[in-house]
Symmetry: C2
């Protein structure tokens, strides 16, 4: 029983049971310990969620930047970020609930601003362009996840648009527009 172990098991519980399943009692049971023992190691549930999101933030921050020219590096950063966000099903909801959505984008934000600057934009425009790409990524992921677990949606959003294809199509148009190619 260490703080790291508690957070680790909390993440497992989150992945398997969802946010509603992550209760102090269930977590205690999975740790083989009384629920109240958690309070000694990590504090209350707010502190636990902070720690969980700390871990998630670190994971999401590890964006893989490939390619050599700025345009390709921008696109690969966006793809990597999207991939990281789609990995954990409840990631966006939990991070949003903690009010830390802006925070998890920091590493990608820095890369994007740098690469847009390298593509010829001046500092402020590069920052704006980077933010635009982030908006596109989070918007895509949010809607993709929602469409996936929609209730009995009367009809699919559009006749057979595959999410990945849609993402690539739009990313390409957006980045070309922002860099002025």
């Amino acid at each position: 029983m260490t703080r790291d172990r508690v957070v680790e098991v909390a993440l497992e519980l989150l992945d398997s049971e969802g946010p509603a399943g992550l209760t102090m009692r269930a977590l205690g049971a999975k740790l083989g310990v009384a629920p109240t023992a958690i309070y000694w190691h990590v504090g209350d549930k707010a502190a636990l969620l902070e720690a969980v999101v700390d871990h998630i933030t670190a994971d999401v921050g590890e964006v893989h930047v490939g390619g050599v020219e700025p345009l390709e590096r921008i696109c690969s950063t966006a793809r990597s970020l999207r991939h990281n966000l789609l990995e954990r099903p409840y990631l966006v909801a939990v991070v949003h609930h903690q009010g830390r959505t802006a925070e998890i984008f920091r590493p990608a934000r820095l890369v994007l601003a740098r690469e847009f600057a390298a593509s010829g934009l001046e500092e402020r425009d590069a920052a704006l362009a980077g933010e635009a790409v982030l908006h596109h990524v989070i918007g895509s992921v949010l809607i993709e996840q929602q469409v996936a677990r929609a209730p009995e949606q009367r009809q699919p959003p559009e006749p057979s648009i595959e999410p990945g294809e849609l993402f690539e199509f739009t990313l390409d148009a957006l980045v070309r527009a922002l860099t002025g190619c």
Copy 2:
């Protein structure tokens, strides 16, 4: 005490106290009635939330489309949608929790696809372009709201980028890229 009255007061409670404050007990108290009376009119809390989101969906769906040429109509639709989404602070979170994010975009989606088609794109490309604009709107709103109520964010996302300005900048670039102007 009618079903509509219950939903109406539930929306008030949601706006004033947030999602955590919307409890059957608090709702009963505000209605001057026992919490269990709600069950007779609207069913359980899941049914209540469905009804609340029904109402929100109708509100968000009322997008104002201005201008005459397609490009201006697309931008004004996006602005109107953004405005509607920003109006209620907990809208995005509640709708997302109900798994109905894709649904609230339906009216705007139809308008956007139609206008992109009018601008010269063929049907499928018009649908893709419309979806891209929706991604941009939801992404912008999500991050804007999060930055607004971030905890003790160490530093603001970027040196003084006003959200509205950022939205306009990116929307313009995106739409011009998609329509090929």
